[in-house]
């Protein structure tokens, strides 16, 4: 694809990646325009491989990748326009959130004042200002996730690649981050979000790319996929201090067809056909009831079932 044509796209052209004998992705051809694109597939399907290929962390065995016309082998130019929030959890030892961010930004060569200013703005955007002076080692999983996100957006990139960015976020933070993604997309940026939870991305994305076993099995406008899965029930796992109260509230509003309480009394598994309304009601119940929520995780890990439903016409589990 010529530079002129690919200048506003993320392009994968017949890309294959093998790790020795093991297939990462095979013959992937994609053109991703601005807006929010969801990259969905089960763990090990090749989502992270595609993102790593786009950012040059790994090189394709065959084919070519370009991001807004730039090759991933040119980090000096590429990372002026690309921000990548990886799924890698580690941070350098002993750093505070602010020091980490300022250190990363100092690598851009723009000077200390600019780095400090960009870091402060990014910390504010991800809601991490109060914790910025604390050691990252003492951060919760959600705070670390937000710090990674801050590092990805701090330089105001045109392309944002986000690998499982909602992992570990509590409902409030999840809502804030989703809003942030929408705002970034509204600015004309490319926002590519990977997830192994279809519903998670479905709420957000303009386009969805389904990946399975290293192959792109479907891609298209999210609207079409959304209609197809509208009737498919979704399971959500909630760990909180008063699951009984929450279950009663959700039943009362008719938003769940089935709820199982955990034996330890600190969680529940709910089944809903209206996830949008379910999450809204969940947030309201948390606020009104003053619940201590540890985690909210869509439990529909079985994306294969979704694939059967979407692609092979089978029954969803």
């Amino acid at each position: 694809m010529s530079g002129a044509l690919s200048g506003d796209l993320i392009v994968f052209d017949e890309v294959s990646k093998f790790y020795g004998e093991v297939l990462g992705v095979d013959r992937v051809t994609l053109s991703i325009p601005p807006g929010i694109t969801g990259l969905v597939g089960p763990n090990g399907s090749g989502k992270t491989t595609l993102m790593n290929l786009a950012t040059g962390l790994i090189r394709p065995t065959r084919g070519g990748v370009s991001v807004l016309g730039l090759p991933p082998s040119d980090p000096e130019r590429l990372f002026r326009v690309v921000g990548y929030c990886t799924a890698f959890e580690a941070f350098p030892p002993g750093v505070t959130g602010r020091a980490f961010l300022e250190g990363i930004l100092s690598l851009r060569g723009e000077g200390g004042a600019v780095a400090r200013s960009r870091a402060a703005r990014a910390l504010e955007r991800v809601g991490l200002v109060d914790a910025a002076g604390r050691k990252v080692a003492a951060y919760s999983k959600g705070m670390r996730q937000r710090l990674r996100l801050a590092a990805a957006i701090a330089h105001d990139p045109r392309v944002l690649l986000l690998d499982e960015p909602l992992n570990g976020l509590d409902p409030m933070a999840r809502a804030e981050v989703l809003e942030l993604f929408r705002a970034l997309a509204a600015e004309g940026k490319h926002v590519v979000v990977s997830s192994h939870i279809l519903h998670e991305v479905d709420l957000l994305a303009d386009r969805v790319v389904l990946v399975k076993s290293g192959y792109v099995v479907a891609e298209g406008e999210a609207h079409g996929l959304r209609e197809e899965v509208a009737e498919r029930p979704m399971q959500v796992l909630v760990r909180c201090d008063r699951p009984g109260f929450l279950a009663a509230r959700l039943f009362e509003e008719g938003l769940v067809s089935e709820v199982g309480l955990h034996e330890d009394g600190l969680g529940l598994l709910a089944r809903t056909k209206t996830p949008d309304r379910f999450f809204l009601a969940l947030n309201e119940a948390v606020l009104e009831g003053g619940l201590e929520v540890e985690t909210v995780t869509p439990a529909d890990d079985d994306v294969k079932a979704v694939y059967r439903y979407l692609i092979e016409g089978g029954e969803a589990s």
Binding site: N52, L57, L78, F79, A87, F88, P92, I104, S106, L107
Partner: protein, 268 residues
């Protein structure tokens, strides 16, 4: 990208690497290796309780520097510091933070190398100088100053120069080993054996060992034992650039390797 921006990026990598070295276990390892000869010297001086004669002082320090510092503590201290520059970050799964910045990988490699060189040169050079001064301390202030003025200071500077050259040369070797080998320990031990047995080698092969050039620069010669094959020392005009040329060549290789390196910690 302008040269000024690249220099600021180099400085940023240098500073980040300094922080990483001082916060992590690698820095502690290097510090312990560097301080060991100084602690040993201090204990010997304290236990002995009397000053060394001037000639004996020089030969004792030369022996300590050549047999312990150059061939053991500096060697393995550099293995700690340089061997983990890239490999350590790969193992800690933090390397991507650097590689996702708009910085050429050559700049990252050079910045990391310079930071480790600054730390090892400072620590090994500093503690070597302290060891020398501890040996000298028993002679009293005026005798010590007189010793320094009559060539002692120049010899001390020569030792520090040899230390810096050793860190530059060994550091570059270990940087490459850390990139190339999954565990650099075994190849490093093989290299140590080669360097350690250099005194047994014929003249032609001696020149393939870094230690030969370093020992040629030490101001006091120490007998290498009855099995040693005596060779001509390399003149300073060749012995000084040799470790630097080796370091330069290995750094170029390390940069090439870094450009081709992939980061995959096994996620997915």
């Amino acid at each position: 990208m302008s040269r000024a921006v690249r220099l600021r990026q180099l400085r940023a990598v240098f500073v980040l690497e300094l922080r990483r070295l001082f916060r992590g276990r690698d820095g502690i390892g290097v510090l312990l290796f560097a301080a060991a000869p100084f602690l040993l010297t201090s204990v010997v001086v304290f236990v002995r309780g009397e000053a060394f004669a001037a000639g004996r002082l020089e030969s004792n320090f030369a022996s300590l520097f050549q047999n312990l510092v150059l061939q053991v503590t500096l060697f393995f201290g550099c293995l700690f510091a340089f061997g983990n520059l890239v490999r350590g970050e790969q193992m800690a799964k933090t390397l991507h933070h650097l590689l996702l910045a708009p910085v050429r990988r050559e700049v990252i490699v050079l910045g990391k190398y310079l930071a480790a060189l600054a730390v090892t040169s400072g620590l090994f050079g500093g503690f070597s100088a302290l060891s020398y001064l501890v040996l000298l301390s028993g002679q009293g202030r005026s005798a010590a100053l007189s010793h320094l003025a009559s060539g002692g200071a120049a010899r001390l500077l020569a030792y520090v120069l040899v230390t810096i050259l050793a860190c530059a040369g060994y550091g570059a070797v270990f940087l490459v080993l850390g990139q190339w080998a999954k565990s650099p320990i075994l190849p490093a031990l093989a290299f140590w054996g080669w360097e350690h047995l250099n005194f047994l080698l014929p003249e032609v092969l001696k020149r393939l060992g870094l230690i030969h050039y370093l020992l040629s620069l030490t101001p006091v010669t120490v007998p290498e034992g009855f099995l040693a094959v005596i060779g001509e020392p390399v003149p300073a005009w060749a012995a000084i650039p040799a470790p630097l040329l080796l370091a330069g060549a290995l750094l170029a290789f390390a940069a090439w390797k870094a450009r081709r390196a992939e980061v995959d910690y096994g996620v997915e």
